[in-house]
Every structure is written in C-alpha cells, then in structure tokens.
Symmetry: C2
Subunit: 396 residues, 2 copies
C-alpha cells in the first residue's frame, strides 16, 4: 500500500480547530515514579462495586427487552421519571423537560449541534473546562471569555460586555468547584447572573459536574433552579456513580431539550439502556445516600493533605484556590514564571501538573496551573505538594 | 412562567434539516392488536442473557479501575486488540486502525464531524438507511442518490455521475441485507466499486450493521477487506450482542480513524468501559460462535413465514426482495399506489409497515414500503402478511 491515498485533504474545516493536542497531553500518562496531580478522573475507590455487580446481573437477567434493547432517544420513561424526582429532591424544582445523555460532555456537544452555527458568539468563564472549549471551537463558535476572580465569574464584567454590544447565544458556566479553578459562584452572583441573562436573552448552559462532591460547605441553589426558564443544566453521573457507563442528564426549557434529543438521534441514538436501568436501581435503592458521603469524605481528606503540603512548601508569591468540593485547585505563580516551561522540571522532580494556559479561550494563563487531588492518597499528595513547592522555589 | 422566553429563535440552521418526524413516526408504537412489521430492533430473544449477567458482575467486581472508569477515546487497548483479531478472523485483513464507537450510528456522526463541511457533496444508495440520511442532512451535506436494482447499488450509474462531474467526498453504502431493501451487493460489483472509488478519490463509508446475520448464503468479502486503504467500515454490536450497551467499531485508514477519535473526544469522550470489557469477555469466551447461529436461525425462520404469507396473499403486480440475511424486505406496489396513504388502512386492518419514501434522498419511492420480520414470531408474521395482502388487494 505504498501508493495509497492520503485522505487528510478531505477533512472538514472544524477538524483543524479542536486543539486535541492539549487534551492528549493532559490525559497522557506520567513516567513511573512521577506523582500525578493531572487527571480529572474520579477515584475508583468511590465506586460502589459491591452493589453494582448485583444490580447489573439482575437487570440483565430480568429485563432483556428493556435493559438490553434500544431506548427512546430521551431515555427510558421510568429513568427520566426517577431523574426528574431526584432533580426536584436535590434542587427544589421539577424539570419542564429532562433527557438522559451519554455523559456530561455529550450534553455540551448536543448543545453545539442544536444551537451553534459557525461564527455564533458564545461566552465562557476564563479559564474554563478544556473539553468544552474544544467542543465550542469544533462548532466554529466565536468564543468570548469573561474574567473570573476568587468568587468565580465576574457578573459585572459580563454585563459590561453585553452593554458593549456582545450578543452571545449562550453562556457556559460551572458554578461549583469549577474545572479548572475549584471556585464556587456565590448566591448573590447567581441571582444577578440569571437576571442579567434573562434581560439580554442569553441562554445559560450550566455544568454541574462536581456539584454533588460537596465536602466543605452546603451547596448553593443551582442556576437552573433559580431560572429553569433560562438555563439548560448539564449533569453527569461520572463523578458520583461511575464513568464507565456514560450517563448524564440535560434539564431545561422543553423546546431546547427537544432539539438536543433531535441531535442525539443523529449520534448515538440513545444512552445505554443497561446503564440507565442501573443508575435508576442504584438511586431508588438509596445507594447515593450511602456512597456519596464516603466519596466526599475521601476528597476532603485528600484536599487537607495537599493544602497542608502546599502551605508548608510553597514560596511566597504563589497562591492557590480553596475549594469546598470536587477535587481541583488552581495555582497562580509569580508573574514571569511560565507553567508550561516549569512542567519538565516538575516531572524530573517527580510531580506532574496541568499547565493553565490551555484552559483559556484567550492568550492568558501562562503563570497558572491546575492540580487534581483525586487519584493520589494522602501520603502521596503530601509528597507531591512538597516536590512541587521545591521546583517552584528553585525556579524563582 | 407565562412570559418565559421562547428559545427557538436560537436554534442552529442544521436543526431545521434533520427531518426527525419520519424517524419518530417509524419508531412510534402501534395500537394494541396491530401487528408491527415496522421496527428495526433486533429480537430480544437473541440476546445471551444467561451469560451476560455473569460477565457484567465479574468485570464490575474485579476491574473497578478499568471497567468502571473513563477509557482512552479510541477504546480500551485489550478491547481494540480483540476487535482487530476478530476483524482479521472474519474479514481476512488486520485493520491499519480501529477504534471503538458508541454504536454504528455514532460512527456515521463522527464521519460527518470529521469530514463534512456544509455544502460538501456525498453519495448514498437510493433508498438508504434513514438515520444516515438524517445525519448527512444535519451535516448540511449535498446528498446525491445513486440508483439501485435487485443487486444493490448500480456501480455503472455511479461511474456515469462521477464522469459527469460529481465530486463526492464519500459514498455511503450498506452492502449486505441493506436497510431498507434487504439487498446484497454481488462480488463483481464490490470489486468494480472499490476500483471506481479509488480512481476518483472517493472515500467509501461501508456500513456492515446486518452482515453477521447471514442465514441464507455465505457472506461476501467486505468492501473494506477489498480496499482497506479506501474504505472506512462502520460496524455495530447492536444486532449481534445487544443494543443496550451502545457499542460498535470504525476500521479504516489511520489518518481518518484518528480524526474520528478527535471528534469523539468532543462528544461522549469514550464508549462505555463496562460495555467494552463485556463484549471482549463475551467474544473471547466463544459466545458469538454459540449465539449467532441461533439468531440467524430465528431470522431465517421468520423470513420463511413472512415470505410464504406474502406469496399466498399478495395480488399480482406487487413484488418484494429476497434477502439472505438480516430482517428486512422491501415491497414495491403497482405504480399509482401510495404507501403513505395505504398506511392508515393497514393499521385499521391490523398491520403496520414503514412507507418507503423517507428512505430516499430524492423525491422517489411513493409506491414502496419496508417490512421488518425481527419482532414477530412465525404465526404473527403469517397473519401480518395475510392482512397486508388483503389491504393492498382492496386498494387496487
């Protein structure tokens, strides 16, 4: 096949825009002996393996025509009913419309497919979830970045941009334990934000991926619960159930959810029936209530180990966020230090992090980096924090 | 919420092009007492529920860090190795590249994302799989229809269009037991087709969804095995394992599969790890070899029941295809009869079919319809065939 055709000339314009190299670098493994503070995977010890096997075996045996078959594109009726009840119990509002998705990221892809034509303006937090940035770029959207401070998105800054003429179709926001910063948007900003977006006709796309991993404070009302008429909520079971089953939800205005479902009919047609019935059985069996506190305890304990090590080891001029849930923190280095350049020295010193620049839509963030405290145990986190502190001190 | 915003004004251009109403009509249930010859679901009695529960329980218990976690976007390494071995065993060629997809339809969506800009020309069989047509329309492709005869796609007709100046990026084709016609492309046409496409730089997208459900003849070499340099093969485990786990594969030139993976990173990120490990365990355990012959026997027996009833009941001037696998046949009514109009009378008479027109990219097919013999047993199929014959005879 030495003369075989090269098909690269056929690729769509969007294929050159995704920027997958950054994600590949982030997801790449680290050499032996290097302590990873990189990945965004949940800790596998938080999965309730003891009950999941029984549930899977039962639904496979008893419900071949349901749990093994295709499902309606929006999901199995009883599963949607369970998820709507759960939404009402946890967030206080029954959804006007709710569909099952194949994970949280798929909901963002469906929103892109349903709403975004090339060139459409959208707004995101700066920094924001890299997977979302890649999806929005792949949709050829015109991505505008709204600055953040320690309390998350600066609503006044967004208001100024809107008053200055910005007309985004949607605003993508992660209000709790944000990826990558670990920050949480306070209640007064939430209220101001939904009013602002309502006034300007901007649909909010709220990502609640980490919300239920609250280990340091009570969670605040979701944007969707404050404005179910103006918010599409993307949720995922990857962090609180397990990722290996690809399950999430989209809740929001009926006409929008209907279009997300139409887009899903053109992709994977439906989320796994087996996964749908498993999460319903797991949830109705009360297993979230027994398992989630254990997961939260684990991540909180991890945080205290890492934070303690950073406090003991970081030189002056380095700061990091104080999350109250999830498993991510965000480090700001003294101006002039470049996290991308620091990466190699860190790996040589036996610790790996994710440089912050790729999380920005703009050309910012050179002196920022993201740390995950999901995978490593307390002792390794303490050592990783110590190594990172040394590397940064040495580079100053 | 009486004054709540209507977000329909934000929808993307493509949202109006999918044509989901036809699919909804096809997937809609039928009233009690009506015998459905409509759905494309596999028969649930072909699922190996006895072994699947054990496999699921085992991998959930023993492999929490693998079977419950995220996987690389292309799939778990051991699963890809198993699928490559299987491809070589069944089709005689080891793939240059192979990735796991979330069902066969998702592969078509990934191809759209990786290859198609709005306005790009593509070619399809007329008629073809409705889900593919919807995906191509959603990608705003310029869809050209190549006519078929009893032996499937007319390669000479495609050659004429190419010589006349058609420049499609890809040709989508279902060589075995085609959806919706049940037809199979003969070997000489396969050989001519891959040569033609190579010569004109047209990538072939081969859908082998029904290929392994061969109950009347040995399967022919796949297009991909004849030209692995020029064909992307979309396969699915929905018909031979079960749909409730959303699993398929894409095999083809490495640079194309790489782009499909980049597109998948922007949607569901990976296929279900649980499903991936289940299909690997099932396959390596030899269960395809024991279960598939049973499934083929069932569909063959169903076909003989339906074909017998149609022969006994259909008035002169009605013809239907003679599939040798899968579970679909295609009926052509005498000119002047409109299948869409006939549908209501058929439901009143207690039998449901799918009108053929929506399966065409062009304005053709008014006097055609599709019958599925998957769901009903032999006695019901015989009765359904009798009812359909009466309805058509009455309308003449």
């Amino acid at each position: 096949m030495s003369t075989r055709a090269d098909w690269s000339g056929l690729f769509a314009h969007r294929a050159g825009l995704r920027g997958g190299e950054e994600l590949a670098a982030i997801l790449a493994g680290v050499p032996d002996g290097v302590l990873p503070l990189t990945g965004g995977f949940p800790n596998a010890s938080t999965f309730a393996t003891d009950v999941l096997g029984d549930i899977a075996a039962r639904v496979l045996r008893d419900e071949p025509g349901l749990a093994l078959q295709y499902t309606p594109v929006e999901g199995i009726a009883s599963v949607r009913e369970y998820l709507s009840e759960r939404q009402e119990a946890l967030q206080g509002v029954r959804p006007e419309a709710l569909m099952v998705t194949s994970g949280g990221m798929e909901c963002l892809a469906l929103v892109c497919s349903a709403l975004l034509d090339p060139g459409d303006a959208i707004a995101v937090e700066g920094p924001t979830y890299l997977g979302a940035l890649m999806a929005f770029r792949g949709a050829e959207a015109d991505v505008h970045e709204i600055p953040m401070d320690e309390d998350g998105l600066i609503v006044d800054a967004f208001a100024e941009q809107l008053e200055g003429g910005l007309r985004p179709k949607l605003l993508y926001v992660i209000p709790e334990y944000q990826n990558p910063t670990g920050r949480t948007l306070p209640l007064e900003r939430r209220e101001a934000l939904v009013e602002l977006c309502r006034r300007h006709g901007v649909l909010i796309l709220e990502d609640v991926a980490y919300r239920e991993l609250a280990w340091g404070a009570e969670p605040l009302p979701t944007l969707w619960s404050l404005a179910p008429d103006a918010v599409v909520q993307a949720g995922t079971f990857s962090k609180i159930f397990f990722p290996g089953v690809r399950l999430g939800w989209a809740a929001g205005p009926a006409e929008v959810v209907e279009q997300l479902a139409a887009a899903k009919a053109n992709t994977d047609q439906c989320a796994s029936a087996l996964g749908q019935r498993m999460v319903e059985e797991y949830g109705r069996g009360g297993h979230f209530e027994s398992q989630l506190p254990r997961a939260c305890e684990l991540y909180g304990s991890h945080w205290r180990a890492l934070d303690g090590a950073l406090r003991a080891s970081m030189p002056d001029g380095v700061s990091w966020t104080q999350p109250t849930g999830g498993f991510l923190t965000w480090v700001e280095l003294p101006a002039g230090l470049d996290a991308m350049e620091l990466r190699e020295a860190a790996v040589e010193a036996g610790v790996a992090f994710v440089p912050g620049a790729p999380f920005y839509a703009s050309d910012s963030g050179a002196s920022t980096l993201r740390l995950s405290f999901s995978a490593l145990g307390e002792a390794d986190l303490a050592e990783a924090g110590r190594r990172l502190g040394s590397v940064i001190a040495d580079s100053l």
